[in-house]
């Protein structure tokens, strides 16, 4: 008896069915629609504010600043534009940091918060505020630099521990969680030691607020976002491969520990660049990657920009909401991000997108 098979039979359990359409175009279309939605929300954010400016006047200040009311033009140029752009940049940075953190750690619950970067930034800022530190030439940059340096310290701790014990997801998550608790405790200690008026300032920073945004912070955080994104581009397919697991990615020629180290450093810088000016912003880095993955799938060529746009969308949407909750005032955006992001996530879960895209 001989056993042979002929031709190319159907895959196991698969009846002959027509090939479904390539979803690449649909996914790209979703990305474009997402970008358009971000554009609409961004303009809305600029139009809304506690100064109760006329919407048409604000539009005129945006489109033709030379002919606009100087007061309106000044508010738009010095306050609203930097705040909105900062919201978009911070959201995009946290979205990218979140998706890459989830990728290198193979953990859907990972976010820039997981490894303690944000907690460390909060600690750095709290120390600078508590001791009234002031840099000689750039006093206004003292708190952001202290936050950036502390986030860098947290990432260095995780990096060194992972270097000693092996650059695996498990070691990095454990080291990160330990770092998170370390800096949260240190932050609480600083708050405990602070006088009431200083404590108020620290708590306000920790809430995360776009009020601190300026053209300078937009330029610095924007440059970090651009450089971080560019640094990730050569590794997009390797990061996609990593989603199949360490062993399979390694079998395809990916140097997994080196990739993990490289992306870890980029994520740390992106997170520090995002939170050092505006304070700790939660939730965006966790939810934006999930929204993006549901819409465009796992291919990092689409997932990376989609995560950036989703992050920016949640953040700018939160900025709009923060101005509408209490007319005439701006609620710290960090308080509102989850309020805006959770309905997005619920809507996508409830619409039954079980398989993603």
């Amino acid at each position: 008896m001989t056993m042979t098979t002929t031709g190319a039979p159907d895959a196991p359990g698969e009846a002959a069915k027509p090939a479904p359409a390539d979803p690449a175009r649909a996914r790209a279309l979703r990305l474009i629609l997402l970008a358009l939605l971000l554009g609409v929300v961004t303009v809305t954010d600029i139009l809304v504010g506690p100064a109760f400016l006329n919407v048409l006047d604000v539009l005129q200040a945006l489109v033709a600043p030379g002919t606009a009311d100087p007061m309106v033009a000044a508010v738009v140029n010095a306050i609203r534009l930097p705040m909105t752009l900062m919201a978009a940049i911070v959201g995009a940075s946290l979205g990218i940091a979140g998706v890459e953190m989830q990728t290198i750690l193979g953990n859907p619950l990972a976010s820039p918060y997981t490894l303690g970067f944000s907690a460390a930034a909060g600690f750095g800022a709290a120390v600078a505020i508590l001791f009234g530190l002031s840099l000689p030439l750039v006093p206004g940059l003292t708190v952001p630099l202290a936050a950036f340096a502390a986030a860098g310290l947290a990432s260095a701790i995780v990096y060194v521990l992972a270097h000693w014990r092996g650059v695996t997801a498990e070691v990095m998550v454990l080291a990160g969680i330990a770092t998170l608790f370390l800096f949260q405790s240190a932050q609480s200690l600083v708050q405990y030691m602070a006088a009431p008026e200083v404590l108020q300032e620290i708590v306000f920073w920790l809430f995360g607020s776009l009020i601190k945004a300026s053209w300078f912070s937009v330029a610095v955080s924007g440059a970090i976002l651009a450089l971080g994104t560019l640094a990730l581009v050569p590794d997009l397919w390797r990061l996609t491969a990593l989603r199949m697991g360490d062993a399979r990615a390694a079998s395809l020629g990916v140097n997994v520990p080196a990739l993990r180290r490289r992306v870890f450093v980029i994520v740390a810088v992106l997170t520090a660049g995002a939170v050092c000016f505006v304070g700790t912003i939660g939730f965006v880095g966790l939810v934006a990657p999930h929204l993006a993955r549901m819409l465009v799938g796992e291919d990092q060529r689409l997932l990376l920009p989609a995560s950036a746009i989703c992050g920016a969308l949640v953040m700018v949407g939160a900025s709009v909401a923060s101005k509408l909750i209490s007319p005439g005032a701006v609620v710290p955006v960090g308080i509102v991000t989850a309020l805006v992001g959770v309905p997005f996530l619920f809507a996508l879960i409830l619409t039954g997108r079980r398989r993603y895209w």
Partner: protein
């Protein structure tokens, strides 16, 4: 020619591979057999450069450097995969080094052609996570073959497949090996299937090669008793294929009933860490 020279792997205190040497010729499909924990997966990973091993591995006379090797494709046993990757994306990643922001249409065409060869054309745009275990195994085999490697290391590629697809997979592997004068090393548990498809069998036990040769030379009752601890009937069919029919396990009452002491190594602590 793939040459293994005294290849050894130590994981913690356990010597998982212990001086494995062999020479595998181009065009050969080799089955790697042995009980669980024998070191099969470890040997495949060491050959793929994914485990630190002492000894030498040479391909066409040149020593292979440590780390992942372009000429060597390894297909792991695990078929778990992220839910949101499409089947086509998975196969394309077989040639990761050729992928950029834009995927070359010719490369994409080749990947679709490879899927069609496995009867997976209709699934090209489905998420890999939505496929059955058997379908995923075929997709990963398509990915491995898409790399067009000189050496294919396949860890139980037929484990989740039905009979028809087991035959299809091994026929496809043999065809690739013959067409490109490649070498395939396939870890398998089904000895009848191994006897039907391979040119040579390497039998591992306790991290060492216990038998090496053509299926008809290697597979006999004494070897199965010594290595696997089973009593088995082995009979050639008129087609020339060997059929291995395990009858009962030795050890405990089975071993006493058989009146023989199995030459099986005692369980080792590393068995939980190094599947194979």
């Amino acid at each position: 020619m793939l040459e293994l020279d005294a290849l050894s792997v130590r994981l913690g205190r356990a010597q998982v591979l212990d001086g494995v040497s062999a020479r595998l010729a181009p065009g050969q499909t080799v089955a790697l057999i042995g009980p669980n924990g024998a070191g099969k997966s470890t040997l495949l990973k060491a050959l793929a450069g994914l485990l630190r091993a002492s000894g030498k591995v040479r391909l066409e006379g040149r020593a292979l450097p440590p780390g992942p090797r372009r000429a060597v494709a390894y297909m792991p046993q695990d078929t778990g995969a992220a839910a949101a990757l499409s089947v086509l994306e998975v196969v394309l990643m077989g040639r990761l080094e050729r992928l950029g922001l834009r995927v070359d249409p010719a490369l994409r065409g080749e990947a679709l052609e490879m899927l069609a060869r496995f009867g997976l054309g209709a699934l090209a745009h489905r998420p890999i996570g939505a496929l059955s275990g058997g379908q995923r195994q075929l997709v990963f085999l398509a990915q491995t073959l898409f790399r067009a490697p000189k050496v294919m290391l396949l860890d139980e590629p037929t484990a989740a497949l039905d009979l028809r697809h087991q035959l299809m997979v091994l026929e496809r592997v043999r065809a690739e090996v013959a067409a490109r004068a490649a070498i395939a090393v396939v870890a398998v548990h089904d000895l009848t299937l191994a006897a039907r498809f391979v040119d040579r069998i390497l039998c591992l036990s306790g991290g060492r090669i216990r038998a090496d040769g053509a299926p008809a030379e290697v597979l006999d009752a004494a070897l199965l008793r010594a290595v696997y601890g089973v009593v088995a009937d082995i009979a050639p069919l008129p087609s020339g294929t060997l059929v291995v029919a395990p009858l009962r396990a030795l050890g405990g009452t089975g071993a006493n009933a058989a009146g023989a002491k199995p030459r099986i190594l005692p369980p080792r602590s590393w068995q939980c860490c190094a599947s194979g």
